[in-house]
């Protein structure tokens, strides 16, 4: 069992160390992660410069690129065979609802999936969390289940874990992505040299956090598991758009 690990918080992130520890006894793990924090990187791919691959003292590899670059380089350049799984995380903070499309953690898993490898992204659903113990156990158990009982079709899972102790996690729920209200406005500031600058504002509050969503599951103390697809075609609008186009 060869497992490729990555994340978007950088190769030095505690959540990645916790994940590597948790999966250590489940197979042959290789870590290839960004050399710096690339939160918000989405599926971005570096096309205008080449990438360097280095190895840290602890054996982790790091790349001067995005999470997608890391998985792409590892799968198409480092290994003789496809890995059996790509596991990404454990992200420091939730990746739920609409935010999923901005996530580099989810993107690392997505790149594995697009390259033909089953993939799971794990996120600890709190920016203020400091203890990855419970999340690491969830990651271990889900990956162990996957090894014992492989899924019958290609799969890309997005897992969010509430920030509580192992004993307080109430179980696992199969969810759909919720929705957020529109983002907060940008925040205007001034540099010490007098230039106006704008920070991207915080994400909006959950708008659809109802029954069945990832927001609701985590709020209720459950691990949220959402299967994702990468084909962006909006099948439900095909007919309406065809009619509108008069084709």
């Amino acid at each position: 069992m060869r497992i490729l690990l990555s994340n978007d918080d950088g190769y030095f992130a505690p959540g990645l160390a916790a994940l590597a520890d948790a999966l250590h006894d489940l197979g042959d793990t290789t870590v290839v992660a960004p050399e710096r924090d690339r939160s918000g990187a989405s599926n971005s791919l570096t096309l205008d410069r080449p990438l360097a691959l280095r190895q840290a003292a602890n054996g982790f590899h790091f790349v001067n690129g995005t999470p997608t670059d890391c998985v792409h380089l590892a799968v198409t350049g480092m290994f003789d065979h496809l890995p059996d799984m790509v596991v990404s995380g454990i992200n420091h903070g939730a990746n739920m609802g609409d935010d999923t499309i901005y996530s580099g953690t989810v993107a690392a898993a997505t790149e594995g999936f697009l390259l033909g490898v089953p993939a799971i992204a794990f996120s600890l659903a709190s920016k203020s969390a400091t203890d990855f113990t419970a999340a690491a156990k969830v990651a271990h158990d889900l990956v162990a289940r996957f090894i014992r009982d492989p899924f019958r079709e290609p799969v890309l899972l997005n897992v969010n874990i509430p920030d509580c102790s192992t004993g307080d996690i109430r179980g696992v729920r199969l969810t759909r992505l919720g929705k957020r209200h529109k983002a907060e406005p940008v925040i205007r500031g001034t540099t010490p040299r007098g230039e106006t600058v704008y920070w991207i504002g915080p994400a909006g509050q959950a708008a659809d956090a109802g029954e069945g969503t990832d927001f609701q599951a985590v709020k209720d103390g459950y691990v949220s598991v959402t299967p994702l697809r990468v084909d962006l075609t909006h099948n439900g609008q095909i007919n309406a758009v065809a009619e509108w186009l008069e084709v």
Copy 2:
């Protein structure tokens, strides 16, 4: 009619100038685009530094950020009202099939859509194209149709235009995204200082370019229009994953 224009090739790109010219008589256009080429930026959002907004001699605004940053900053920071449309492009090169998730051009449109604005991404389906005339006419006509006959629900359209003269375009087709074969391996190189580096390789050949795909439409000389959705939940796998999880 207020139209926000962006792209991922940078504010200096000829395709953006062609788009701005084409839409000029259809409404009040504002251009906010990246200060440098951000092809492959996907939906990445800049969270670790603030953004600067500047204006070029021709009136175009540019931002030291990603396509998503540009639209986000423009919509939540520059305007008093939501724009009526976000139009992105004209990209230099196709954005079809799986590649759509890496595209900054599509991402700029997606950000508009997520902020509640109907959005269209236009791409000229050839990296070697030099003439945007036909593509600009297609953009003009589709946006004019949208203004005349607004779509009844929120919509995000991905439009790819074959690289030929206006007279040789055979019409418009409603399509689904095709699929590519897995990507080519990374390409190993050496820097002048002796370090090994890796370029992300070219995209794979089309694997599903069959009837109904964007690949097929463009190959046949048609404009391809694909409605996209941004909810990544894989509804078709919900039951199977629930069963697998035993929940």
Copy 3:
């Protein structure tokens, strides 16, 4: 007379346009400047990725690199012969005293000098200046003098121009670099996501702005011209350090 122009404010900067206009009738000018604002870039050189060279609609070339990269690439890659001069600027803001070592404008000139080409850096000594007319005339006149009466040895000149009308400039002074008080402390801030960050603070006040310095000349309404050297050996300390080392 072939003149290479660059700057550190970016190829779109008004000061560069003013310089190009001013020197247009003095020779064959080529502009190669950074694609984005690289103020503070010093002599940094891009070694971990290759550079792209593009051309804007107005004929200016731009490079995705530093001011030093621009001059290095232009001199060693674009031209068949060495240019006769490298002229950098007109910078928006002063480059005087200790700040000179941080300046990308001065660095662009320095790179020309290191490659064997006489070089001059021009700066308009006010961050709030909006009119480059007087500075452009100064640049024109000094370069014209250089063409008429070439300097007999390799030379690298740092020129700072007071922000006033041509009529109010009182003349030219030959100066040494002044000194600043130590820099102000970094300025602590918080991102919208709650992370602590630090802005580099403003430069300190002038400490040595006495007779003969660039600070004094500009304050008195004179153009300051300082010859620079790039050999950093501290000849005045050689003996004391030798003694200290007991060698």
Copy 4:
């Protein structure tokens, strides 16, 4: 004795670890280094975005900025008192002759010096070196000498160490910076997407490597120590330029 350590190869670099080990028993050491390899950064300072300061598992701090940013932030933002010394390195590769102005390792020391702190930059003069033992001993001994017998005036030393065993180092020489021949031309390449790009070429061969230079000392198996100054005024040309300017 409080010693601030930095480098330009990144906080994860073996040369920095060797330096920290070597100086550990000489005082209270704090490491603040760039989060990624910033070789060639020169004195560049980050002015358009704020900096983040993080701490790695081994206690080293890292900053998403340049070597100059690291020292500036540490000295003006982290400490209550000025450190007693700034020590930079051990760089992987020489910093001799004209190359010194491009070096981030030397720049980190220079920033310390400009902020009023005595500073030394150490470089192991071989890109292929793998063993920092001898260089670390040299660093230890020079810093120990500095503590025992502080220099009577502000000092900035550039130290290059030959790549050999401790026993094969023949001693220490006080040197001036040598000179290189002009740089090699840029190296043209093509990206996998067909775009032309240019790598900065290797440095030129030594042109002045004669008696008294750093090049000669290291070639002869000696540690080279060069005192540097940061006032770039070319005093030797003041009169000639004044005459030329007719002032």
